[in-house]
């Protein structure tokens, strides 16, 4: 399959089951909502060392949020529920409780077959030293914790669902600037897709990895088959003209969400086309042995139905 001169490899991205959750953060204005959200999703690129993968999903207008203030929604993913809950509480406590005017609400209440309630502000309330106040509206419990700027308002819990992490594709280009430009285009397009985040810096990762290492203590190491400077000395996957490879990793609430994001991203990259040095799109996998989810690039790129906005994707 070739789109606009770009070869789509006959391969698949191999993804894993994760636990995911969404939190809505509001504040007096977007600036402060972002301050909180950026802090909360900072250092959350990979579960390998960050515990969670997190990112900002989208902005929300005042009439979309529970408390009628502007905000952003963030998604957070982890390999297990325990670590997700722990990270959520820690990050909420350090990044939202602390942030002037910020409040936190559940972002998942319905629309998924199996939703597990997990603590949002439930334990943070104890920061209130007994002065905290609980309120229940519409069947949901909220906590008001007195803080120096007024009150920190947080919902008691949010929803956690089984979700998918590690969707990806690789952009192979003739130069580093060209690869990056294609990635930027892809990320711009993918940001419009709900229910997904691309957790790496700017949405892009350059340090694709393989499983294992010559060093016994490392579980992963550089994906030498895709490192352009090693073309001559490894079992390379790169043709001679490829000078730079970059990867976009996608975590999504469902498999379908990742498929949509993948399609939007590859399409945007391909729109730049071969004339801009974009040569191939590939994906990372482990031969299909490790991850239960396989995103076949060619299937995705031929599936027109993915262009539709699926029902129930509103945040």
């Amino acid at each position: 399959m070739i789109i606009n001169g770009v070869t789509i490899d006959d391969t698949f991205a191999e993804a894993f089951g994760m636990r995911g959750t969404r939190v809505i953060i509001t504040a007096q204005n977007l600036k402060w909502a972002y301050n909180a959200a950026n802090a909360m999703t900072g250092f959350a690129t990979s579960v390998i060392a960050c515990g969670v993968e997190a990112g900002i999903e989208r902005e929300m207008s005042a009439n979309e949020t529970p408390d009628g203030r502007p905000g952003v929604s963030i998604l957070m993913f982890a390999m297990g529920s325990a670590v997700l809950m722990k990270q959520l509480e820690t990050r909420l406590g350090q990044c939202v409780l602390t942030c002037p005017t910020a409040a936190a609400f559940s972002g998942i209440d319905s629309g998924y077959p199996e939703i597990t309630k997990i603590n949002l502000g439930k334990n943070l309330r104890f920061f209130g030293d007994g002065f905290q106040i609980s309120k229940k509206f519409g069947g949901k419990r909220f906590w008001r914790v007195p803080v120096m700027d007024g009150e920190f308002l947080t919902e008691e819990s949010t929803g956690m669902i089984r979700s998918v992490g590690g969707g990806n594709f690789l952009i192979l280009a003739e130069s580093q600037p060209q690869a990056l430009a294609a990635c930027e285009a892809a990320i711009e397009a993918m940001k419009k897709i709900p229910n997904v985040i691309m957790p790496f810096p700017g949405g892009v990762v350059r340090s694709g990895s393989k499983v294992g290492s010559k060093y016994k203590t490392l579980i992963a190491s550089t994906n030498d088959a895709f490192c352009p400077t090693l073309k001559g000395i490894t079992n390379t996957q790169l043709s001679p003209e490829i000078e730079s490879v970059m990867e976009i990793v996608i975590d999504g609430l469902t498999e379908l969400d990742i498929r949509k994001a993948t399609r939007a991203g590859i399409a945007a990259a391909c729109a730049l086309g071969a004339e801009n040095g974009i040569k191939r799109v590939s994906a990372g996998n482990y031969g299909g042995k490790l991850g239960p989810y396989h995103f076949k690039l060619r299937d995705i790129m031929s599936d027109e139905s993915l262009n539709d906005i699926a029902p129930g994707v509103t945040a």
Partner: protein, 268 residues
């Protein structure tokens, strides 16, 4: 199907306990069965069909017509369905109600919603003392659900209230929210003396600056984001409360005699 309707035949001298006549207890019963149910009144037990003319067949939606303040325990312990009362109701309306809906087109006597756990009660007239309070000896009053009073409420409304929402469009009598434990009471009208006396926790929302006793103290004027959530949750109510949209309040806290973590919010 038409609503199962009980029309009071004549005013009773002694209060009548109507706790057996709830949608869940009458489900599947014939009019004859229902007519034979015994209702305590004074020292005697009256057949339901002695007291009421009975018509209709949908026990999920019960109507009491021609009702008055001698009819106690309407909707007591009810678990489902809807009761509409035209006229008045006696004491213990919705006593320890678990779920469902009660609409009263008239006034209710004392202890309405006492020990209520969940559900919705709309009293379109006035209500007597001890709205949402606890049964004697119990330490917790209303534990959940929503009570909307279009008219005035008597004294001690929300005594020992533990959870839930009481909204009163009219005035309240003395000692409103006494020993309140949690939950929310909103009052659009005037409040009586000793508002929030012995209040431990919970929120009182009032529109007029009340006279407060010394152990409830001013905490200043504030903009509280949670009020947005609260007023949003009122939006669907058939009440003036649905029109409020304002989150700037004067906050008083107390009662310091009783640990003092309750609040009285006066809308500015």
């Amino acid at each position: 199907m038409s609503a199962l309707t009980f029309t009071l035949k004549s005013p009773a001298q002694q209060r009548i306990d109507l706790s057996p006549l709830t949608p869940d207890k009458l489900a599947g019963k014939s009019i004859a069965d229902i007519g034979a149910i015994l209702l305590q009144s004074g020292k005697t037990k009256l057949r339901t069909d002695e007291v009421f003319a009975i018509s209709g067949d949908d026990s999920n939606g019960i109507v009491f017509d021609n009702a008055n303040h001698k009819l106690d325990y309407i909707g007591s312990g009810m678990k489902s369905g809807k009761i509409t009362i035209n006229g008045g109701a006696g004491s213990y309306l919705g006593f320890q109600m678990k779920k469902g809906e009660i609409i009263l087109n008239g006034d209710a006597d004392a202890f309405a919603a006492s020990g209520m756990a969940d559900g919705f009660i709309h009293i379109k007239g006035n209500v007597g003392d001890f709205l949402g309070a606890a049964y004697f000896g119990e330490r917790k009053g209303m534990k959940g659900g929503t009570v909307l009073v279009t008219g005035n409420a008597g004294e001690r409304a929300g005594d020992q209230m533990r959870r839930g929402l009481i909204l009163i469009e009219g005035n309240v009598g003395a000692y409103c929210a006494s020993r309140m434990l949690a939950g929310t009471i909103g009052i659009l009208g005037n409040t009586g003396e000793y508002l929030g006396y012995g209040m431990r926790r919970g929120t009182l929302l009032v529109t007029k600056t009340p006279d407060l006793h010394a152990t409830i103290q001013d905490c200043g004027t504030h903009t509280l984001p949670f009020l947005n959530l609260m007023f949003k949750s009122f939006a669907a109510l058939p009440s003036k409360f649905s029109k409020i949209n304002q989150n700037r309040v004067q906050r008083y806290a107390g009662d310091l005699a009783n640990d003092g973590k309750g609040e009285i919010l006066v809308l500015q």
